[in-house]
Symmetry: C2
Subunit: 343 residues, 2 copies
DNA sequence: ATTAGCACTCTACTACGGAGAGTGCTAAAA
DNA sequence: TTTTAGCACTCTCCGTAGTAGAGTGCTAAT
């Protein structure tokens, strides 16, 4: 662990906050003036030199001011989490009101949530629907559609409805479909999709010994119906972040847009964090994915009765207003949880 | 109409093609060398001066080569459409094979189609699902869900399935729901969603005179169920176009990303073109939306029995390889149409 | 009608130099 | 021992100047 006294920490935080407001390297004079610590620029220079030695600050070049490193941001954020205040909640509340009207469609709700986050934060807003391993099947309904097709409608306890068209290999009546559906419901309702997948695999392994043709068919249909991309990721606000001076450079924009389009890397990242409680923060190089090493991520999972129902977050430059970001994400996560909890 | 002789046209096309390959202003020497027209640079200079006077070319500055204007591209494209050849179909076919597997879910199919288009074209790929005015209701199913909610599942003739959760204001049995559903189906099946909306409005105006409580409830449910954002737009390939030198400038990237996020402007644009047959091309300033005046659009609607089932297209710089773009879009539209037609 | 020749124009690139901001170091002060 | 003042030094930023090169328009010859 890093040894650092209170005064140095204050100066580090002052530099970080200064840099967040204005992306120019921060000099000793600026710190001395802006924060009434009763220290002269010279003293502060000494401390800054120490902080640099510790790897918390860097200079873009000799004789520029200092800029926080990722580790510098980390220390700042950690000290922030201990005593964080609430930021402009009013603005957010207003936007939440509009989201209320969308509660009945979780996908659209999440899209709009990601947009809302990007609007208030001016960073990328992200929202992800629950992953199959934690999604519980409420019921399944089956319909004939156009003679040779079958529509499977999946309801989850979390309020998601997913549908999938399946091609039928042989004729079947709606009556049989109803029987299949009620069999599947009695068998699988209340289990998570991952559990169901496991059960299906087991069933299939002894399928040959089973002679009930209908059941074996039911199993097959259910398996196909479950092969669905749960865990959708919605990202909004690219034009928002392009306004930031941090993205003046084309290379960085390219990296970010690649990261956005390669959604599965972000999904993988969020998956890791979905189980944890509270607001999680990943700063620049702490990120394990190469595409994301220049950006910071602030996320929180939305949990209902300890069961995650989604993830919301922010992606932005390492020079992010973490205080604001944390507050927004914390509030949004709680709001979504509350809203979905009322269903 | 513009008067222009065959030789000038050849030179214009030569300049456009040259510029498409390499985004540098084209000089008279280059044209003389690259295209064996048997003319000297000086002659070509004269013709280029004429073309500039006609508004088909411009110079970035006095002593640079020439660059096509939007009107220049237009002439090039028009002469192209008369005698167009087929381009690298093989590559496209290969990608189409993967799309085949997705035919059962139209939304995912369209997402993947837009990705495929961007991959082969290296421009933005766009795909849009049918608009409600041309979407025909096949059937509607209603379910109780968690005691106080109602799930409405809409099937369209085009193979789309949409679902919507509605909150119930008062208790209702599944039996009643079934009766409502079969009433709605007998009444509305086979009509386009827009037609149904009209019918509903009519019904509601005389609702007061009707005493069948169930029917009035059915009408209300149906109305809510139809308030669905059909006509989704999918855009892919931002990181693809960022590699183009045309987007070296930050301002242009911002405009493009704004255009992408403000999907409704693009949707409006595509709506206008959805009714037309064949490949439609809009070049730069021909575009009525401000956000799009710096980009070109190549689109084609996918029609099944004269009824549009979607729109596919490309958005790119005005300096676009129109020949390739046209070929890709034409083929993709035909492929999608054929695939959906087989259902 | 076409071409060769030539002067002209404009950009892109490099080099130079001064202003300004911020540093590190040293020596004095607290 | 810690803090501060002073000062020389370093590096970026920005404007100016000068040059090479590409491409033009015009004129006169073919």
């Amino acid at each position: 662990m890093l040894m650092i006294d209170e005064r140095s920490k204050k100066i580090l935080c002052a530099i970080v906050e200064n840099y967040i407001n204005l992306p120019d390297p921060v000099g000793s004079r600026t710190v001395a003036k802006g924060h009434p610590l009763g220290l002269s620029p010279a003293t502060i220079r000494n401390i800054m030199a120490d902080l640099e030695e510790m790897g918390l600050l860097t200079q873009p070049h000799t004789s520029a001011g200092r800029v926080p490193t990722d580790r510098g941001y980390r220390l700042y954020v950690d000290s922030l989490l201990l005593e964080r205040g609430s930021t402009d909640i009013e603005r957010i509340q207003e936007i939440y009101l509009n989201l209320e009207t969308l509660r009945d469609n979780i996908d659209i709700l999440l899209v709009e949530t990601s947009k809302a986050i990007s609007m208030v934060s001016h960073y990328l807003g992200i929202a992800m629907s629950p992953k199959p391993n934690v999604t519980t099947l409420n019921k399944i309904e089956l319909f004939k559609y156009k003679s040779d097709k079958l529509a499977a409608i999946l309801f989850t306890d979390e309020g998601m409805i997913k549908n999938k068209l399946l091609s039928l290999d042989s004729e079947i009546t709606q009556k049989d479909l109803n029987r299949i559906a009620s069999y599947l419901n009695s068998e699988f309702s209340g289990y998570t999709l991952d559990e169901i997948r496991l059960k299906i695999l087991k069933e299939m392994s002894r399928e040959k010994t089973m002679c009930d043709r209908l059941i074996s068919r039911a199993i097959r249909i259910c398996q196909e119906a479950l092969s669905f991309p749960f865990g959708d990721l919605f990202v909004s606000g690219l034009s928002e972040v392009l306004e930031l001076p941090d993205f003046a450079d084309l290379q960085k924009i390219k990296e970010l847009s690649r990261a956005i389009e390669e959604k599965h890397t972000i999904i993988k990242l969020l998956d890791k964090l979905a189980d944890l409680d509270g607001v999680q923060i990943i700063i620049g190089s702490e990120n394990s994915m190469d595409e994301m090493k220049k950006f910071s991520v602030v996320v929180s999972s939305c949990k209902e009765d300890g069961r995650p129902v989604g993830v919301v977050g922010i992606i932005g430059p390492t020079r992010m207003n973490y205080l604001k970001a944390i507050s927004i994400i914390d509030n949004t996560a709680k709001f979504i949880t509350r809203m979905l909890g009322e269903r």
